[in-house]
Each structure stands twice: as structure tokens, then as C-alpha cells.
Symmetry: C2
Subunit: 119 residues, 2 copies
């Protein structure tokens, strides 16, 4: 058990769209990601996904609307809901999601990171 400095953890990686694990609690993982550009459309069949914006601006497109989130804002994307994150400038996001969640959800693609790394 130790304190985790979130900014320090962000300093440990630069790649976009590669979530890194910083903590586990009750079978859910806390992950950090740096996002820039468009991701792919996907959903998570059985898992809600919590996004908290730590820096910058993130837009999440849904099939019927899009929601723009800025630093200090969060959203829970319910299971089964198609979504596509995008960020014009680099955005830093904290995610909370079950151990079983792939970031690309129901879509396996070249964007999928199979074994996410602890930092």
C-alpha cells in the first residue's frame, strides 16, 4: 500500500492510446492514457467505463450526439453504448474500468493493446 502520484505516473510514458495501469481496487483498474486524434468506434458489452479528464479536452462521439469534456470533468459511458473518443490536442485521461475491459471493447483491431502495462 503506497501513495500514487498521478502526474508522476503520466511522466512515465508518451505513447497515445495505450492505457497504463496505476491501481486496482475491487476488481477494477485505474488507468492513465494520453489521447490524441481519433480512436475507433467500439462499445463494452458488459462494462461501464469511467473517464476523468486530467488535462486538455476530450470529445466522445456517440451515435446520436457528442459530448465534450474538459479538465476536471468526468463521464460514465454505460455498457453497450457505442462511442468514439477523440482529441484534437493531446488529452490526459484517467479511466476506471473492470479488469476484463479492453479499451477497444467489442472491436479487436491493430489499436488493441492486449496486455496493458502497470507503471
Amino acid at each position: 500500500m503506497e501513495s500514487i502520484n498521478i502526474a508522476e505516473k503520466y511522466g512515465k510514458f508518451t505513447a497515445h492510446w495505450t492505457p497504463k495501469i496505476i491501481a486496482e481496487s475491487n476488481g477494477q483498474l485505474v488507468k492513465l492514457a494520453k489521447l490524441k486524434g481519433d480512436f475507433i468506434w467500439h462499445n463494452h458489452e458488459a462494462e461501464d467505463e469511467l473517464f476523468m479528464i486530467m488535462k486538455g479536452v476530450l470529445t466522445i462521439e456517440f451515435r446520436d450526439k457528442s459530448i465534450t469534456l474538459k479538465e476536471g470533468e468526468m463521464i460514465v459511458v454505460p455498457k453497450g453504448v457505442d462511442h468514439r473518443p477523440k482529441a484534437e490536442e493531446e488529452a490526459w485521461v484517467l479511466l476506471v474500468e473492470p479488469v476484463s475491459t479492453y479499451h477497444t471493447g467489442n472491436v479487436k483491431s491493430e489499436r488493441t493493446v492486449e496486455n496493458q502495462e502497470w507503471i
Copy 2:
């Protein structure tokens, strides 16, 4: 589904040691609390508890040590571990914990808030 502005939610209450619920994801609740002074010794028999410090400084005493956390730091207190949060000055904390978690854990006292409120 909507964006949640964390600072705005903190503006909705002033009482200390009364966690307020702002989101639910995968059976876990995201809560905000303002803490000042000493809490009681307790543990959560079956649930880990995630603390993220949003403002100020929080010290968590354990039976064998204490850990001081400042803004931008987090910790997961594993289930079953006795702990006692304290804050000399007001600290703002974000918690993630299962729906079933009481903030006073295994100890029911006059500090227990039975029905925590959504804000």
C-alpha cells in the same frame, strides 16, 4: 449520460465527513467528501476503498504507519485494513467504492451517514 463537473459538485455542499454520490459505474460509486479533523478508526471488511485527493492534504493513519497524500495523489486502502483519515485543514477527496460501502466501515457510530445523497 452527461458530463459531470467535479468542482461544480463540490460547490453543492459544505458539511464535513458526509460523502455525496456523483456517479455510478459497474456497481461502484464515485463520491466526493470534504474532510476536516479526525475521523474514526474503521475498516471495510469486504471492500477496497480508493481515495484521490482533489484539494489539500489528507493523512491516513494505519496501525503501523501513516501516509500523507496531497492534491493529485491517490491510494487504495485494501479491504480489512484499519485506517483513520485526518485532515488538519479542509481536504477535498474523491472516493470510489462499492455501492455497499459505509464510510465508517465496520463501525456504526454517530458519524455514520446511512443514506448517502446524490448531488
